[in-house]
Symmetry: C2
Subunit: 191 residues, 2 copies
């Protein structure tokens, strides 16, 4: 008899559908070599016409190397008719809510997984306030961005586990970027 075939990679250890063994391997690699944690995420956008434009994401830099995504991601943005668009995509401030929702959700689920906290179901509703007078330049005292965003999660799991979820939201990169702000440099050059 021959020995049973063995995979070169260990079996996944799934908690909440997250391969915690793979995730902890990444964590330990960065612990041993902190420089591996530095990432550069990227997107390219092309204006199509009017308020319609499209972004493409193909890969990023992390763990000291260029990493290609398994597929190219394409995302369209537009505006509704009342904002002079043709509704061919969610608008940019709605995409921002998606970025926040998805990041909070991933952060809750992944951090719960490595702590052994099982989550059965998780959904959220987001709502954010913007006064268009800011964007339209009608009143310089009116903020141009969101002045508040509310995120209401509903989760299924044991009471003890649910009580531990809220604090895990604090790890979310998008939540932290929005809460604390970040430096954004914009340049315009001739093509």
């Amino acid at each position: 008899m021959t020995a049973p075939a063995r995979s070169l990679t260990p079996d996944p250890v799934l908690v909440n559908g997250v391969d915690t063994r793979a995730l902890m391997a990444t964590v330990n690699a960065i612990k041993d070599d902190p420089g591996l944690g530095a990432c550069r995420f990227r997107a390219r956008n092309t204006w199509l016409s009017g308020n319609h434009n499209r972004s493409v994401v193909t890969g990023f830099f992390g763990a000291r190397q260029e990493i290609a995504h398994a597929q190219t991601f394409t995302m369209d943005a537009d505006e509704p008719a009342i904002l002079a668009g043709h509704d061919q995509g969610a608008n940019p401030v709605e995409h921002l809510l998606h970025a926040l929702a998805s990041c909070l959700t991933t952060s809750l689920v992944a951090h719960a997984a490595v702590r052994g906290i099982e989550v059965e179901e998780l959904e959220s509703e987001l709502e954010g306030d913007i006064d268009l007078r800011g964007f339209l330049g009608l009143d310089p005292t009116v903020p141009r961005g969101y002045t508040a965003i509310r995120v209401a999660f509903r989760a299924k799991g044991t009471t003890e586990n649910l009580a531990r979820l809220r604090e895990l939201a604090e790890f979310s990169p998008v939540f932290n970027t929005l809460s604390q702000g970040t430096r954004v440099d914009v340049t315009v050059q001739a093509k």
Copy 2:
């Protein structure tokens, strides 16, 4: 002879593909009644499994009414294999770059249109820095969100027009939200 047929709505006046007559009608309506500018944008997100989740956007509140989008927008987020996902969508911090790119682009194009500044082509490349040690909780002194985002636009148009574009970026709601930060309230309740 009968008079020529007249549309009930005025013909669009397109600059950069933006119906500036419709946009100015919105601007003037809000000028006359500032309360019309208050908007609430929304998204709903459902966790699917692991790092994969999905947002749906169907409508928003604006001009003192609920406004449905012409279609339902669905956006998936996931993570690449190195971050314990299956690459079934751009990841949340990449979606954030798309939100920023699309908002800056729309703001430049629309504000240029109402000023009569013609833009022929516009594209952008975005890059943002995140150190995963923050998200992973390995070092409390490392920020968890983006520490810097760079946006490089390339535009085609007259030299005079291009020189005026950069300042129009300042109107972008997502740019302002990221630059200045906003309040984000997160709650978790049992389902």
